[in-house]
Subunit: 288 residues, 2 copies
């Protein structure tokens, strides 16, 4: 592995296998050609024209869209479409963070509809006399996704109806027992985005990177069963583990590479410096 390999691994999507879907004139996401026949069973909801799918314009409000699509998704769930991943956790549907949501959609369905998911990913670090150290969690071995892999110190998806920083503070408490007053000191310092494909699912996601300098005597503690345990690693060990292995969950590598860049651990004279930094931010061009 190398940093560029991680970027390529996160950006493995072949968009040629997908068609966009729209709410009015705004692109909401992408559906895989192999999943599209499922949409075609509901012409009252989805119509195909010009190589794209269009949600029924009769659904005039975000609430109406959310309700009608949810009823359809519940049918799919009952037919086993989402395995055990249904969470009753609504995500906002909007390609650009901050745009008014077109509707909401259950998290488990989001990658089937190639809707862009957002989330805060925080690196908790300690400045010790012997150098920078990072708190590295291992995901619980019974998590449904990526069990046992290494993770960012605190990370979560972004449900509808809560701010990014408030969501991070909540996740800091749940995942690492970081008290709210300390978690509020976390700082948004950038973002990473990528186009990840897993079979018919597309994750064109954007994670906002946060840094939090933690006191030397603070020890994060798993609180909600999502984390197996935390270890404090010298930054060099994190650097080498990211560079040389796939032990971290795939997208967490990008957040850590961004951390390494911002903290000056790469050289400007590395001939791949610009390619690495550029590769941390991928997007799909807006529709014409």
């Amino acid at each position: 592995m190398s940093f560029l390999d991680h970027i390529a691994r996160c950006n493995n999507a072949d968009l040629g296998q997908f068609e966009p879907w729209f709410v009015g004139r705004r692109r909401a996401g992408f559906v895989h050609r192999s999943f599209a026949p499922v949409l075609a069973t509901r012409p009252d909801l989805f119509a195909r024209r010009d190589e794209a799918w269009h949600l029924s314009p009769a659904l005039e409000t975000p609430a109406a869209r959310t309700q009608a699509v949810r009823a359809f998704l519940l049918e799919l769930r009952d037919r086993g479409q989402f395995g055990k991943l249904w969470r009753e956790e609504p995500y906002a549907v909007a390609w650009n963070f901050g745009d008014p949501p077109l509707m909401e959609m259950e998290r488990a369905a989001v990658p089937w509809f190639g809707v862009r998911a957002f989330g805060p990913h925080m690196t908790g670090y300690v400045r010790r006399p012997d150098g920078l150290h990072l708190w590295v969690p291992r995901r619980s071995y019974d998590k449904p996704t990526y069990p046992g892999q290494l993770d960012n110190t605190v990370a979560g998806g972004q449900p509808a109806g809560i701010g990014l920083h408030d969501n991070l503070v909540k996740e800091c408490g749940e995942e690492a027992s970081i008290p709210p007053d300390l978690a509020r000191q976390a700082r948004a310092v950038g973002y990473v985005s990528y186009l990840h494909q897993s079979g018919p699912q597309l994750k064109p996601d954007l994670m906002v990177c946060f840094d939090l300098e933690l006191p030397a005597d603070f020890v994060p503690r798993a609180n909600d069963g999502e984390v197996h345990g935390f270890e404090l690693w010298p930054v060099e060990r994190v650097f080498e583990t990211v560079r040389d292995t796939t032990e971290f969950k795939y997208n967490c590598n990008l957040v850590l590479i961004d951390f390494f860049v911002r903290h000056g651990l790469l050289s400007a004279d590395d001939p791949t410096f610009v390619e690495i930094v550029a590769g941390l931010k991928r997007d799909v061009p807006p529709p014409p």
Copy 2:
């Protein structure tokens, strides 16, 4: 002004007014339609086909290209094409930093040929008990470009044949009397890129951002006449001056906005957070 206004101001180019030029199959830059007739006077050097200009394939090596184009540029200089800006400072011609240069070209000609220029831009800062402070220089009032404007602490163009960090160390000495041992502690922490047009000239440039934490008792001192003087400003004053004014040279605003992002001065819940961070990096898609 706003941060997004600065991004738009740096990215004012209308690429529809330009045509690309190639060395073999590699794009070297862009020429404005109003400058293209000058190339057309030298069919031995430049041929136009498929809405693009192509340097003569008879020039097989970087040295041959450099020499032949230089002779042409000297003629243009003698006809007054470059005003007083000719510097005898060769730049490498390569769209991607780190690619083997296709040739070299005098700095004064670079924006006429829309060749991507590179350079290190460093923010020198001090952590004081009363908060972060930045060393802000004002450009000399008799500089040929942007006289009297505010600038990044140390910044320079990237001549051919020297590394970025070595170039920065040299500029640190010349522009701010920062000794080499201290300047070497500067860290590359990212880059900004933009597509700036000034009449027929195109600057599709990329500046590598460096941070250098300076000791509280160090005072930079103008050394080569390029800087009028330095002042130490609280970061809030720099933030407000960037946000609300055009006192800084246009591209220096992007370097400072990148600094503000990386140092956590923007909120993730600012609805323009992602747009601002994304806007700091613009590129032209590679040719098909």
